[in-house]
Amino acid sequence: MTTIPDLFEQMAYGPAPEDASAAHAWLGNHEAVFGHWIGGRWTSPRRDFQSKNPADGALLAELSQGTAEDIDHAVRAARASLKAWQSLSGDQRGRHLYAIARQVQKHARLFAVLETLDNGKPIRESRDIDIPLVARHFYHHAGWASLIEDELPGSQPVGVVGQVIPWNFPLLMLAWKVAPALAAGNTVVLKPAEYTSLTALLFAEMVHRAGLPPGVLNIVTGDGVTGRALVKHQGIDKVAFTGSTEVGREIRSVTAGTGKALTLELGGKSPFLVFSDADLDGAVEGVVDAIWFNQGEVCCAGSRLLVQESVAIVFEERLKRRMQTLRVGPPLDKAIDMGAIVDPTQLQRIERYVEMGKAEGGVCWQSDVVLPSEGCFFPPTLFTGVESAHTLAREEVFGPVLAAMTFRTHDEAIALANNTRYGLAASVWSENVNLALDVAARLKAGVVWVNCTNQFDAASGFGGYRESGFGREGGVEGLWAYRRATADLPADQGLSPDPMPEPLAPREGRTLDRTPKLYIAGRQVRPDGGHSRAIPSPDGSLLGEVGEGNRKDIRNAVEAAHAASAWGRVSAHGRAQVLYFLAENLEARSKEFAARLLDCTGRDGRAEVEASVRRLFIYAGWCDKFEGAVHQAPVGHIVLALPEPIGVIGVICPDEAPLLSMVSLLSPVLAMGNTVVLVPSERHPLIATDFYQVLDTSDVPAGAINLVTGSKDLLAQVLAEHDDVDALWYAGHADLGGMIERWSIGNLKQTWVTAGQRNWSDPTLGEGREFLRRATQVKNLWVPYGE
């Protein structure tokens, strides 16, 4: 036996196990076998699959694999409870959320221990990070439930929400999904990840005890098959998913064209930038929090270390020394830094990546830590000499593996950091505030942490750019993901489409022939294919011919739009000036446009032109008023929610009100600093080709607006499939809308598809904040302070 004198000599930490008896007792009360939680009660339990403790392989419980029938049962329960839940006042819903927060706090240690048993994460993290953040999330949203009617006016709950969450932060991801959904007046069917269902089941039981009405929250356990059944279920109004980009893409495909709202929080390969003027020791600790937090199984893990060349050697030495002090072992030990990898499958995946990293020429270094002889463990791992062409620099490992690279200048750092399909998070270390904020502004990421990393708060939105998904969780942005704005509603306003008459009568040759062209990069250009399409007037006579745009025209237009990205850096005042100028010049030619509308549609166009001028005027006013927020962040931090342009947005215009609808879609996109590739109304493109003359006279920078006329179906597909188009807006027939959502899975671009025709002259449908929200993405910037 080791005596105190021996220990006095060794000065080692020794074991410090957390007591797991309460968690085992809870499992024992259920005889370690569970059904689903549907409609406020357990279904009869089945022994379909097992949940194991990854630290020792011990069986924790047996669980039911949710079938399509189970899902249907749960969706019906959620639907049945929806009306009563929505009829509660915001205050009453807030009280329920408050009770949930209290319940989590009252049983915090049970939740924490159960989470650690099931997931393998260190008890320190489940106890000090996961569970407190869960409680915080419900408290925060208890407040939102009361405030939502006033703060999100004109919006409605989405309905029944299907949620699929990952295994890395099981209960926290549940909280991120459930709290805003319930606060916003929705009911929920949630499927936890099959490795980690237990805290969700405990949670269900606890909230029932706290008085949540039956059916408002339903939990169905199972694997991807169950998830697929949930996502496909026709009774679901919205799908919210957190997990791999691969599965996210599948969900995008399955939900395309169904009218289901969708938010995706996907993978990342987040950069961690260390500049030569950083507090290097502080940054080393930052790396620990970035990649060895939760065994690196973190979607926003700082897995790509970019260090300025001049400090790279010293930084590597210090990092390695620090890695030697990381303790890996039994997750229930209170003095452990890294616990177990969630499952043998994941462990093998990590091992595969490490082998690949070595094979591709990276230099692998691991700390000397002695891993437990059994269970799923992997040591802290550093790869140096990684190049951006290597797999480790590009693909998400989801494990404790850091890929390190160097950079020379801050421009190069930004270029390397942004050289990824993902855009979830980034961390910037520098003591120079000018440098840090410049880099933060130019990084393509939904969250940027300056001199810190992996900081979260319920008041601050979290979510990614690019293929890291769309939608935000947390804060008011996250709340919007569970509400429908009026402008989002399928808006069939009883308008009928203008018919395309046949055959075309020959044109009466009184005026000089005009050749409308495409408008790309600020120039009128002929269509690449050399074809034109005839445009009839309502009575069937030939009004004119427009260019038949094709793939290459779209390609050129997208390139022009990217080349014009400086538009996003023009001051808000400057953008407003251009929009005002557009309004002024359109008004100056209002007679001409009204006459053209009459020719095209057979209807008096004066009111439409007037409304279009007004809309430009309004969005000019919005340019410098759609502002971000300063969040009520933890003390010692400033957290800024910055609305940023999305980038290049494709816009497919509808046929109704061809000028006004085009202006209504174009103006907010432009006002927020995006550049645009616009496909005008297929039926009435001549309005758009007249409009480029207004553009030419209004100081619109070349390439900021590009117009490609032609077949809507064909051009929409090219735009939707284009990997360098960041978002796509479509208003029109539902069939094409569904196709657009399906085509867009390649780069998971944000689509805004509204089916049906809308009355564009109605400001609640045709303009306002929802358009601006859709034209921006929020970057949350965390800046701690203190000297």
Binding site: T2, T3, I4, P5, D6, L7, F8, E9, Q10, M11, A12, Y13, G14, P15, A16, R124, R127, D128, D277, A278, D279, L280, D281, G282, A283, E285, G286, D289, T325, K334, A335, D337, E431, N451, C452, G636, H637, P784, Y785, G786, E787
Partner: protein, 327 residues
């Protein structure tokens, strides 16, 4: 327990005393400390590390051996100094010490004002426990330089084996690093063979980057220990300040090969606090630094709480102050 007896830890191949190095201003210019990051590290460590049961007892005993048992009070007289020295000789109640096998353990030193050095030396004669004297215009360092220097010499002559000097904080605040360097060098020379602990007065230094720079300059000038504070500043030892000083010690060791010690002083009264400091040293510098030759805690009340916690380990009952002799 009790078969093996505890002995003071020794470190084989302990490097020679830090002789100091040339003042390197470029090195100072590289120092940058982000307070938020330092605070986060210090704060999260409390949740990351703990010791339980016999390990905790061992760590508490190790803390005991690193205490500079201190009285630096305006009301000090011969009687309370004598009481303190007696406590230093027998830091634990004898039955408790026996139960833990810790009869041979002493505190690291007794620290007093210069006037009491001779008395303390007498009271500790034969115990092997050194007397440490504060000097050089303690606590503010704002008396004439010659006078401060004389204090250092006097303390040595009076029998102190360790001298805790204060720096003139002005040199840090005005970034006059060469003045600071020369001052510490002069004290080092005047201290002769005495161990020189340099008190930075971190509560006066304005920010952590200054703490880092002052630490380096003190070490360059030949400090044997760098010490946080006098106990008289508004803010004394804190974990973030300690973190910064420990990192400076590590960088100095990496670059020069000379191991400099660290002393935390002021406000460390609870066993749990002491463990936090030990753990921070363990993490940043390793176990080699967890011995009296490289780590000290300047404290008066801490020993009482250590005794209570150690008794709890042997009896499984929570203990009371009145069961332990006061120091």
């Amino acid at each position: 327990m009790g078969v093996t007896k505890l002995r003071k830890p020794r470190h084989a191949g302990l490097p020679a005393r830090n002789p100091g190095v040339a003042l390197d201003l470029d090195w100072l210019a590289e120092q940058r400390v982000n307070r938020s990051a330092a605070e986060r590290r210090a704060q999260s460590l409390a949740g990351r590390r703990t010791v339980k049961k016999d390990w905790q007892a061992a760590w508490l005993l190790r803390a005991l051996t690193c205490i500079d048992l201190t009285t630096l009070d305006g009301g000090d007289t011969s009687s309370n100094v004598a009481r303190l020295c007696a406590k230093a000789r027998r830091p634990l109640r004898s039955d408790l010490a026996a139960a833990l096998g810790a009869e041979s353990l002493n505190v690291a030193a007794v620290c007093v004002y210069p006037l009491f050095v001779e008395e303390a030396c007498g009271a500790l004669a034969g115990s092997g426990i050194p007397v440490a004297s504060v000097a050089a215009g303690f606590p503010d360092g704002l008396t004439k330089f010659e006078q401060r220097l004389d204090e250092v010499r006097d303390a040595r002559v009076a029998g102190a084996q360790e001298i805790d000097i204060v720096i003139r904080r002005q040199w840090v605040l005005s970034a006059d690093w060469s003045a600071l360097y020369q001052e510490v060098q002069a004290f080092r020379k005047a201290a002769g063979d005495c161990r020189l602990k340099v008190i930075l007065g971190t509560g006066n230094l304005g920010n952590l980057t200054n703490v880092s720079k002052a630490s380096l300059v003190a070490m360059m000038a030949g400090a044997d220990f760098i010490k946080t504070s006098t106990g008289k500043e508004g803010v004394n030892a804190t974990l973030p300040v300690t973190l910064v000083m420990l990192r400076a010690i590590r960088h100095f060791f990496d670059r020069t090969g000379f191991a400099v010690g660290f002393k935390a002083a002021g406000g460390i009264r609870k066993a749990k606090d002491a463990l936090s400091y030990l753990m921070l040293v363990h993490e940043e510098l390793g176990t080699a630094w967890l011995c009296e030759s490289r780590f000290r805690i300047g404290a008066s009340g801490l020993l009482g709480d250590l005794s209570r916690q150690l008794e709890h380990r042997t009896t499984a009952r929570y203990s009371s102050d009145r069961r332990h002799p006061m120091g």
